[in-house]
Symmetry: C2
Subunit: 153 residues, 2 copies
DNA sequence: GCTGAAATTTTTTTATG
DNA sequence: CATAAAAAAATTTCAGC
């Protein structure tokens, strides 16, 4: 991927609703050229999709936590992500190196809801949990650094 | 916030580029009514913005890690988020309960880049670090559960 | 706050160099 | 990849209830 595609990706990461007209102005390309590139980036999966960023306080999910999980039976097949996928309070699931096997990011309405969710996680995936509660989030969803730091391809 | 706004938020969280026409069809409102509501949700900050979701492998940042930090001097004023904000490889910063004070989510190009970033974090904020490397991400950015689980207002 | 409709702008496609 | 043109669709504004 080269310079202009990288610029387009950066712009869309910052404003997913930016118009092709604006993208064209920012990149110096014509509208059709930008259009073509964006479609190609989407098709290749470099742009995976678009999402509105939501204020979780406002929608009644003010409590965020990171839940690290570890299998009770280390010999059992590890299909925890599949077994947890139905729990929609889990926003993300990362397989990680280290003592524990996955880190989950969860959003819930209250401490009681967290307690309930943890129980469901333990039951669903036969794991033990270790939970770190988020107190506040100074920043989140910052766009990736493409002009500085990363040297793709 | 009531039912229809919640539905709009859910739809936009799943597809940040959904048109007002489609939102109108999905909610049973007129286009102008939906338009009005979306603008109001944006103005109130319930919808914070829109972002393209990017494949970090494709843009040369294939390595994700969680970095927990702890101040070297517990008596010093805690302005770590400000002091780290210039490091664009930090995608998110959460203040957390527990032994450590913040969890950072970082994206870098390589192990060496991670090593370099960790050093910059320690120097910039006068903290010690504990790093958990992400091996794979079964899922991420799942939309919040508004029709099930949460009971806003 | 909603509807319906007009005015404007953007998106999308197609063609040509 | 640029330009151009045309058609389709979406955004935005506004009168009226």
């Amino acid at each position: 991927m080269e310079e202009i595609d990288r610029r387009i990706v950066t712009l869309l990461a910052q404003d997913g609703r930016m118009s092709f007209t604006d993208l064209a102005r920012e990149t110096g390309l014509s509208v059709s050229a930008v259009h073509q590139r964006v479609r190609r980036l989407e098709k290749r999966g470099i742009v995976r999709g678009y999402a509105a960023m939501i204020d979780h306080d406002a929608i009644g999910l003010p409590l965020t936590a990171f839940v690290s999980i570890k299998p009770i039976d280390p010999a059992a097949p590890d299909d925890a992500p599949d077994r947890l996928a139905h729990l929609h309070q889990i926003e993300a699931c990362h397989s990680v190196a280290g003592d524990e096997s996955y880190i989950l990011k969860v959003r819930v309405a209250s401490p009681v809801a967290l307690e309930d969710l943890l129980q469901q996680i333990r039951e669903s995936a036969n794991v033990s949990t270790r939970t770190t509660v988020v107190l506040s989030t100074p920043y989140e969803h910052r766009p990736p650094p493409l002009g500085d730091g990363a040297v793709p391809e």
